[in-house]
Amino acid sequence: MLIYILKRLLSMIPTLLGVTLITFFIIQLAPGKPTDLMTDLNPRITPEARQKLEEYYGLDKPILKQYLLWLKRIVKFDFGNSFSSDARPVIVKIYDTNEPFFDRRLIVTLTINLLSILIILTIAIPIGIYSATKPYSIFDRISTLAVFIGFATPGFWLALILMILFGINLDILPISGLKSLNYESLSPMGKIFDKTQHLILPVFISTFGGLAGMSRYMRSSMLETIRSDYITTARAKGLPEKIVIYKHALRNALLPIITLLGLSIPGLIGGSIIFEQIFGIPGMGQLSYHAIMTRDYPLVMGLLFITSLLTMLGNLIADMCYAVADPRIRVK
């Protein structure tokens, strides 16, 4: 098992290098120099100051050297300073150790996504099992149709409709941010209640996005498992159907779900950009959108790198869970 983990960790290194190459290349695509944004808006800037700034960011060096210098810095998680007016280091903008733990952008986004993954699993797995054990029944037909509609619903549109419905017409849920204005004056219980209220719509939207795919996948995985020979054996020797499904089939049917969870991380990160933007949630997604729109290159590069790293870590964890659950993988 240890050797397996070590092997997986080693194989991450070239992938990570590739990610840095692509990230670096993307920034080179942008027209002009990255420092233009800082210099063009400043009428008093002298050519010398401009040159100094370019030297500071290493833009006067050949492109390969720039890349290597950047690589040397990001190993230490030093992504430089943001181009925005606060000019804070990129890593501090993403994960500010001075703020309360649950207010740090990285943690906000992770919390919402982990919450929705948990809800997705608790809903999707039973639906998938039930549909697969009674294929083409009325429940299966309805859930199949619901899955297709869920799959086709644009998350941002649903967010808009729910904002109209719950935020404006019924006026029972807040539609923006993570806390009310009077948050600091609330009692500890009141604080939890306030945060929960703010989280309902974003978590719902994020859950909705993944639910359809996951339950569909669970259904087909279960259907395939039920058709295998060992299930026929279990039935033939007279085991009750419940034990056949929940004890014998479920374990194997769940295996592909683990991989799917790992693979769904990039989609969740993309989704975060949209719903954090709509609901005004101060997480990494909102930061990404602002960074892109204001052409804050160091921040974009840092965020691309960190989200890719998160994806890889997620895949690693998924692979490890898979190896724990399925001994066949470890032997290979």
Binding site: P14, T15, G18, V19, I22, T23, I26, I27, L29, A30, P31, T144, L145, F148, I149, F151, A152, T153, P154, G155, F156, W157, L158, L160, I161, M163, I164, I168, L263, I265, P266, G267, I269, G270, G271, I273, I274, Q277, S288, Y289, I292, M293, R295, V300, L303, L304, T307, S308, T311, M312, N315
Partner: protein, 276 residues
């Protein structure tokens, strides 16, 4: 082909998908004929009118007919869907075929590249590139295509891995056919079924992606209508003009639903595993 068509027609959901896809196609092709008003026509006396017999889906904040704009929007959506899927399928087939056929280092390098692309959050990447290069329809098509070929590449590679050992390929090799000929005229035609299914599903994904981009202001730029950018107008008038939010969203939903239903129906019809 007629067998597949029969199966699609026999499957009610797939048939529904086929009908949706065909009708959208007709709407997109005949947009100039069908739309009752000029989609560019600004009429300040007619701002934010609710749906009526003259304006089926109401008018927007410049007094333009939303129904006509949505018909032209169908054109944009489908154009983006088809072109970007065309690009991603071409790249996917080429890289997947090379990896599966040649194996060894070629395979290792290509599959490593696939892994790298899968690690970078696609939507973030697309947003960043479009923001840097400027949002226009060509950039959007190309960039969606360049970032969504990985699934096709994996599919084609897997097909090639199993097909290249079969007798007909060995026979072609023995008779001295070139590698190029074996890849493209012997193996590829046998590997196209799953590619076709994933292309149909890919159109759905691309339509959804384009509308998200347009909604965030980095997609199709006004005055060119797209379902996504009509929704952006809907967001700014959310409290007074529900029709601006509801109809374009439904259009996206129905389109994506149609392509997904057709794709799944094709999968059932083509995949021998699901034969009853």
């Amino acid at each position: 082909m007629s067998k597949i068509l029969k199966k699609i027609i026999g499957n009610r959901l797939a048939l529904l998908g086929l009908i949706i896809v065909m009708s959208l196609f007709v709407v997109a092709v005949f947009a100039p004929v069908i739309s009752p008003h000029d989609y560019k026509n600004i009429n300040v006396k007619n701002i934010l009118m609710p749906p009526s017999t003259n304006h089926f889906f109401g008018t927007d904040d410049l007094g333009r007919d939303v129904f006509s704009r949505m018909i032209w929007g169908a054109r944009i959506s489908l154009a983006v869907g088809f072109v970007s899927v065309g690009i991603s399928t071409l790249i996917g087939i080429t890289l997947g075929a090379l990896a599966g056929y040649y194996g060894k280092y070629t395979d290792m390098i290509i599959m490593r590249f696939v892994d790298i692309m899968l690690c970078i959050p696609g939507f973030f990447l697309i947003l960043a590139v479009i923001a840097f290069l400027g949002p226009n329809i060509f950039n959007i098509m190309i960039i969606i295509g360049l970032t969504s070929w990985m699934g096709v590449a994996r599919l084609v590679r897997a097909e090639f891995l199993s097909l290249k050992e079969r007798e007909f390929v060995l026979g072609a090799k023995a008779s001295g056919a070139s590698n190029f000929r074996i890849i493209f005229s012997h193996i590829l035609p046998n590997a196209l079924a799953p590619v076709f299914i994933s292309a149909v599903l890919g159109v759905a994904a691309a339509v959804l992606l384009e509308s998200s981009l347009s909604f965030l202001g980095l997609g199709i730029q006004p005055p060119t209508p797209s379902w996504g950018n009509i929704l952006t107008d809907g967001k700014s008038n959310i409290e007074i003009a529900w029709w601006l939010s509801v109809f374009p969203g439904l259009a996206i939903l129905i389109t994506v639903l149609g392509y997904n239903l057709l794709g799944e129906g094709l999968r059932d019809a083509l995949d021998p595993k699901f034969k009853k």
